[in-house]
């Protein structure tokens, strides 16, 4: 094979690789072209930059996208999502959207806090919404959108703490008073889930043993399975995973070893196919609501930045999903306890801890 041919071939190969790579990481969603004609006209454009979990995480990236889609349908906003394959993608993705004239950019995930802080002053005409991000000194066009994950997890903890005692609920409930928590990375929003879950469980079942394990990753399903197998091995019969895609492996473990599962962020009964047999409920975090409300404020010209906003039970920003297939077997006592806990949080008689040190 002569040298010239080799060079041409090598070039072609490189070209092919670059093309595939570009398609793979550019991964952008075009807005659907189903014009209903009833959508009010606005020239506002809103976009999101995903965290490394990417779209399809059946968790907070997808929920943000839901918020954007709702804004497209109800407000006529032009929308777009750029995916980050690694942390180094955050910045170019934001630049790309800001330069393309997007009026509101949502950066999704705690890990993007620093990048959002750096970019917001650089593009003063663009509204930056940081999901799960707390800003020390937010500028006028920047808003931190935070959630009281601990309040949703508190309700999930009440369910789990009572369910593990209730052997009539399901034959997978054992006589050990142990429940499990699987976390993705040990970062504030996940810690809030863990702490709220423990507080909720202990509030109804003071002797319950809550085992918490961390995967160190949001996209290692295999590790998520091993972690769940480990807590089940320790006697846990209800497992709550706040771990993104890692948690999907935990669902497999629950199905294999006979334990019940509590989902996170979205109602995972709806989003994870074939999980109904173990999905007791889900601790929901309405990222879509926060995204939609922010876009709506931008469209209506009422947006106020320079602050951090928290969405909790009282703002309908977090909550507990229905029991679905377990609706008929979950006792009225558990349902009443959940309702009681919800009221206690709403009227302020219970303040759910958010940090491990507050437990």
């Amino acid at each position: 094979m002569d040298a010239k041919f080799r060079k041409v071939l090598a070039l072609l190969l490189v070209f092919a690789l670059v093309t595939v790579f570009a398609v793979g990481c550019g991964g952008e969603e075009e807005p659907a072209d189903d014009d209903t004609g009833e959508v009010p006209a606005t020239d506002v454009k809103a976009a999101m930059v995903t965290d490394v979990g990417g779209l399809g995480d059946k968790s907070f990236n997808d929920m943000s996208w839901e918020g954007l889609k709702r804004a497209e349908q109800e407000l006529g906003v032009e929308i777009r999502a750029l995916e980050s394959n690694e942390i180094a993608d955050y910045e170019p993705n934001i630049d790309q959207l800001a330069n393309a004239g997007y009026d509101a950019i949502f950066t999704v995930g705690f890990l993007m806090t620093d990048t959002t802080n750096a970019k917001a002053p650089e593009y003063p005409d663009v509204v930056f919404g940081g999901i799960d991000q707390f800003f020390e000194e937010p500028v006028e066009n920047q808003v931190g959108l935070l959630f009281k994950e601990n309040e949703a997890a508190y309700l999930a903890g009440v369910v789990a703490g009572l369910a593990t005692l209730d052997s009539d609920l399901d034959d997978r409930i054992n006589d050990k008073n142990v429940i499990g928590f699987i976390g993705g990375m040990d970062i504030p929003p996940v810690e809030k889930f863990e702490v709220g879950f423990i507080a909720g469980a202990k509030s109804v079942n003071p002797d319950v043993d809550v085992i918490s394990l961390y995967a160190g990753s949001f996209d290692d399903t295999s590790k998520g399975k091993e972690l769940a197998l480990s807590v089940i091995d320790q006697g846990a019969d209800v497992v709550f995973a706040a771990a993104g895609l890692t948690g999907l492996g935990s669902i497999t473990a629950c199905q294999e070893r006979g334990a019940l599962f509590i989902g996170v962020d979205a109602d995972q009964y709806e989003t994870v196919e074939g999980s109904g047999d173990v999905m007791l409920t889900s601790a929901i975090k309405r990222v879509d609501v926060a995204v939609f409300e922010t876009i709506k404020a931008v469209v209506e010209g009422t947006f106020v930045g320079g602050e951090n906003r928290e969405f909790g039970l009282s703002e309908d920003g977090v909550g507990l999903a229905p029991f679905h297939d377990f609706e008929d077997v979950v006792s009225q006592a558990i349902k009443d306890a959940v309702e009681e806990a919800r009221q206690a949080v709403l009227d302020g008689s219970v303040t759910v801890p958010a940090l491990r040190t507050e437990l």
């Binding site: 990417g54 399809g56 995480d57 295999s222």
Partner: protein, 317 residues
């Protein structure tokens, strides 16, 4: 406390987590023994994991899926072989390109075939080989619980990995194929002189490593989880390369090194159970397997010698 850490499941978990590492590491061993560096194992594993799920989805049989995973790993290996043997490109560059290709390709095919990014829906999985009911009471019950968990609880590819390690070890050092393979990696010119085809020998070694990488991927999706998630290999292919070096370029050594990494990972999970007692942040435990990798590579293997001709393209004449 010790009784809580050293449960039968700790050892079973170690062997489960070692399996994908070991298969890829043995693939690395065979490839590097022939003189070709294969850092593309990560990509081959990822592509195998994905195609295994797609294959199972379309055929309905996880066995067919596993076969497709193996063939997919081989097809990526063929690209690596063509680039590094025929075109004589830098083997590290070619391997890196394949890792990136695999990441992009699986993401792209997710959109095309599944219709959404992220995770596929669950497919049928390979079931554990044995399902024996033993005694549950008394001393025999305890003994059986250990034996059942550590020996009889696994899915087929876990056992295959052990067989492949042993047979590979024997073949590498006791057969004509093994002798020739080693000659290619140590002194390809000499091998060529006595009439061994360097090109053909290296091609077959790279393709075998691709098959093992694909099988490692099938273990992840078709045995462990049952669905594919983008980027789910999480650098296991690179840890496998370290295991291959730690195992001194031998199949059994690779398996044992992988087992050590798997054990470290299983142990850190168990140690996390005592976070409240020991009061150490979870990150410390998560770090353990990787610290072990660095320590092992930097210190313990100091004297391990790689095949002499590794990484060097062979030009006839």
């Amino acid at each position: 406390m010790l009784a809580d850490i050293f449960t039968p499941d700790l050892f079973a978990s170690a062997i489960r987590m070692a399996t994908p590492l070991a298969l890829a590491a043995i693939g690395g061993t065979i490839c590097e023994r022939s003189g070709i560096v294969n850092i593309a194992l990560e990509g081959m594993m990822l592509f195998g994991a994905f195609m295994g799920v797609i294959g199972t989805m379309f055929t309905g049989s996880p066995w067919a899926g596993a076969l497709i995973a193996v063939l997919s790993g081989m097809s990526l290996a063929l690209i690596h072989a063509f680039a590094s043997i025929t075109l004589r490109t830098d083997q590290v560059v070619s391997g890196t390109a394949i890792n990136i290709l695999s990441l992009g390709l699986t993401g792209f095919l997710m959109e095309v075939i599944i219709g959404h990014p992220g995770t596929t829906d669950p497919v049928a999985r390979l079931r554990p080989v044995f399902n024996i009911t033993g005694p549950t009471e008394g001393l025999f019950g305890t003994v059986w619980r250990w034996v059942d968990a550590i020996v009889f609880s696994y899915t087929p590819i876990v056992y295959m990995a052990i067989v492949i390690a042993v047979v590979g070890q024997w073949a590498l050092f006791n057969t004509r194929w093994g002798l020739r393979l080693r000659a290619l990696g140590e002194h390809p010119r000499a091998a060529d002189t006595v009439g061994i085809s360097v090109i053909r020998g290296r091609y077959s070694a790279v393709i075998v490593s691709g098959a093992l990488g694909g099988l490692a991927g099938a273990n992840l999706t078709l045995e462990q989880v049952g669905s594919f998630t983008e980027g789910m290999t999480n650098a296991r292919g690179f840890i496998a390369l370290a295991a291959n070096i730690f195992g001194r370029w031998t199949p059994v050594g690779s398996y044992l090194a992988s087992l050590l990494f798997g054990f470290a990972d299983a142990l850190q999970i168990k140690l996390q159970l005592f976070r409240d007692v020991i009061r150490i942040p979870s990150q410390f435990f998560l770090m353990l397997p990787y610290v072990l990798t660095v320590v092992v590579l930097a210190g313990v293997v100091g004297r391990a010698v790689a095949p002499a001709a590794i990484g060097k393209p062979y030009e006839k004449g």
